[in-house]
């Protein structure tokens, strides 16, 4: 299908529910080994007994940026097979995610817009934990394309 056809099939209000993710010391280690973010916030139980400004944490926390690929994956699982290009992701982390917590990203189509040269869709993003608490919010933007940027010259 063309970018125009994919765009036309998109419906505002539709919801993409991402795969759930449970945080363990192993997932934290794997994220650190991949991202090279070895901040003691994610590893050092003794260090986490400290007070951070007025904030205290009950033990180590997941990297906030772990939310990012989980949200991206939710979007690209849907977008890539449809010729959609993940263009933008804006997030705020609202709540720390702790060991044993399970988080689930959800992307809701919030708007679509055809411009002079593009077919754009917008998403509202939320990530909730096992108790239904919001741990992250945000929004994202994708573009349906007939040619992926950088491939025409290849």
């Amino acid at each position: 299908m063309t970018a125009q056809q994919q765009f036309d099939e998109t419906r505002v209000g539709d919801v993409i529910t991402g795969r759930s993710f449970t945080v363990t010391r192993e997932t934290i280690q794997a994220f650190a080994d991949a991202s090279l973010d070895y901040n003691p916030l994610h590893f050092d139980d003794k260090y986490m007994e400290n007070t951070f400004g007025k904030t205290t944490f009950d033990g180590v926390i997941m990297h906030g940026m772990q939310n990012f690929p989980l949200i991206s994956r939710t979007l690209t699982d849907w977008l890539i097979p449809r010729g959609g290009f993940h263009r933008r992701l804006e997030t705020r982390w609202l709540k720390p995610v702790k060991l044993g917590h399970t988080i689930t990203p959800v992307a809701t189509f919030s708007a679509k817009r055809q411009t002079d040269k593009g077919f754009w869709v917008l998403f509202d993003i939320s990530v909730t934990n096992q108790d239904g608490d919001l741990v992250a919010t945000g929004n994202a933007m994708a573009e349906f394309l007939d040619v992926i940027p950088g491939t025409a010259a290849a």
Binding site: A32, P40, R73, T76, E90, I148, P149
Partner: protein
């Protein structure tokens, strides 16, 4: 230019801690010290596996060739790795207790194996809110063709 080796990285974030800029010393507009890195297929595959990005377009060349991307690409969020890979042990983003408050990223071109990526990083702003010390940073990543592959901005709460 350095071929990025994930196994050759200082994982002790306390090392050089006294050399890193504190909130008071971060000057908006001042460039962070960065070095370009070249990404291999192996690094892209390990990044993808480590962060949970399991689409075979990130590690299976035969499959990736059948897609409109024409070959393996890196997951969009690889800027997370690039930020640490391109900066030094003295970079303030490594300071223990740095808490990420949220990020905005725009993606312009896919990053591919063999790409050499250059980072330009600055602080844009500092502020105090609810007794916390915030820094706003902005990073731009450019490939060997001079294409800006992704740009991002984020906020961190600085350790006190």
């Amino acid at each position: 230019m350095t071929v990025l080796d994930l196994d050759d990285f200082e994982t002790d974030f306390w090392k050089d801690v006294e050399k890193r800029k504190t909130w008071d010393e971060i000057i908006p507009g001042e460039l962070r010290d960065t070095t370009p890195v070249t990404l291999t297929k192996e690094v892209i595959a390990r990044f993808a596996a480590g962060v949970g990005e399991d689409n075979p377009i990130y590690f299976d060349e035969d499959y990736a060739k059948t897609t409109p991307y024409g070959g393996i690409i890196a997951p969009p969020s690889i800027h997370i790795l690039l930020m640490f890979a391109c900066t030094t042990t003295e970079d303030w983003m490594r300071s223990p207790g740095t808490i990420n408050a949220g990020q905005n990223w725009s993606y312009h071109f896919p990053i591919r194996p063999g790409d050499t990526i250059t980072m330009r990083g600055t602080a844009l702003d500092r502020f105090i809110r609810k007794d916390r010390l915030f820094a706003v940073h902005e990073n731009t990543f450019t490939n060997q063709h001079g294409q800006i592959v992704c740009t991002g901005r984020g906020q961190t709460i600085r350790p006190q």
